[in-house]
Amino acid sequence: MDNILISSTMKKSFGRSLVYVLPMLLLTFMFMTGGRPDFSNLSSALAIGVTFLFVNILYFLMHYTGKTDKFRAIIFIIFALTLSFTLIKNMLEVRSSMSFSQADILECKIPFCHLVIPMMILPAAFTNSIIFPGSIIGGFADISSMVVLWLVATLVLGRGFCSWGCFYGGWDDGFSRFRKKAAIKKLSEIWKWMPFAVLIMVSLTAALTLIPTYCDWICPFKAVTEFEQVTSVESATKALVFVSLFAGLVVVLPVLTKKRTQCSFLCPLGAVNTISNKVTPFTIKIDKNACTECFKCVEVCPLFALGKEEIKAGKVSVFCSKCGKCVDVCSKNAIHFGIKGIPAGVMKNFSRNLFLFVSFLFISVFSAGSIINMLQSFFNLIF
């Protein structure tokens, strides 16, 4: 009985949850419609309406149930799927193919994604230019907009970007939820440092060759977005690497381990976001007075951010992406969303409400474009 009472402290009444949703309703309405809803196109109006309802119902449920991760995961996974759908649809419309040609590279028409950012830094510092065949401003996924979006998101959310903003993370997050129990339970935690090695390697090779080497040779998500046209042994090898890494790190290992292995072991931007985790005001706090050291949170953490040492020390590591899985599983509410400067165990509701508002507003507006696009394509088929 005591456990039930404590675990329900994050829950809110129906009316109170509605009050908390009101600002989100207003802002998502403004951002999705531009303040001027257009009902002249039925499928577009329906797509916007469904997306608007969908995101706000999820946000309401986060407050009403007091649970975070399962509702976050729904929008996060849908974001990944719809973004891939939107990208592929856009490429099929523009190029009639998922692969890009030499002409697309020469004309600098390749959509930019945030994973290129770590490789841009050294060349930008030395050559005063960007090493990517995309558009600086204007057009689909231009470099300036993506840099601004990532910069603000990583400043505000830190590694929370990896669970609340990255449009690829939903893939391995989704596959990590396929099984109820992990088939592989023991994975050496040393691998969590691997993204730093990848970051150093791709930053140096990109600087030396002036080619974004991660995108060119490693990125597993090329398998679900776009890749170089296979015209030679080299391009065929690259395609094989993309597909193998996607199958291994995004599908098979997450299914077997229930961990987000691509994000934990490979992603160089994850390493950069880990560093910015030091700057963000939002964090996860451990209330040592309430903690019974059951280590359920350690078991469920998908990014190896929590170990027994961290729990005993009362501090989560910088690898934390604030997904909320550990918070949801803790029956004592000993682990909770917090704000730096506020001691653990204090102002839990305030900290959670503020973090949820910021992070959910970001993902709901960021993902809305691709969700609306996919729904609109679906409604266009019907009407």
Partner: protein, 148 residues
């Protein structure tokens, strides 16, 4: 001290909230400002370099770009020169190119657009090989490999 830490933490959190709220409506203007930063321009290895010479015929313009040897620090030993034919490009392109503008031909290029055949005949010993020859939305482009 504890109170100051709490107030600082909450203040920073509210600043972040404001940042996220203004991010999306202000994205266009933030992006335009970002695009004006000094390093926000494409490296010549991707843009192809600036156009240094134009040969204009009745319906077609040939843009000869500045040879690109850009490396991380200084110039590389090998690079390329990009040529773009824009407008109504003839089915067969036969051009003699002087890319360094020294009044001496550097290479001859023959392109059959319909069969996607491209042939390079080097004249200068700086000219290496044909790296790319491809149709583009504006016509046809080639990149020719060069030695410094």
């Amino acid at each position: 001290m504890r109170k100051i830490k709490i107030i600082a933490g909450i203040t920073w959190a509210f600043i972040c909230l404001i940042l996220i709220v203004i991010l999306f409506p202000g994205l266009n203007s933030f992006s335009v400002s970002t695009s004006k930063l000094p390093f926000m321009k494409l490296n010549p290895n991707y843009s192809g370099g600036v156009v240094i010479h134009q040969l204009v015929t009745e319906n077609c313009t040939l843009n000869i770009r500045k040879p690109v040897f850009d490396g991380l620090i200084g110039e590389r030993r090998s690079g390329f020169v990009q040529l773009d034919w824009r407008g109504v490009v003839p089915d067969n392109i036969i051009d003699t190119i002087d890319f360094d503008l020294d009044q001496n031909p550097d290479f001859l290029i023959f392109i059959n657009r319909k069969q996607s055949i491209a042939k390079l005949t080097p004249v200068s010993n700086r000219v290496k090989d044909l790296i790319i020859s491809t149709p583009t939305s504006y016509g046809w482009s080639v990149r020719v490999g060069l030695n410094k």
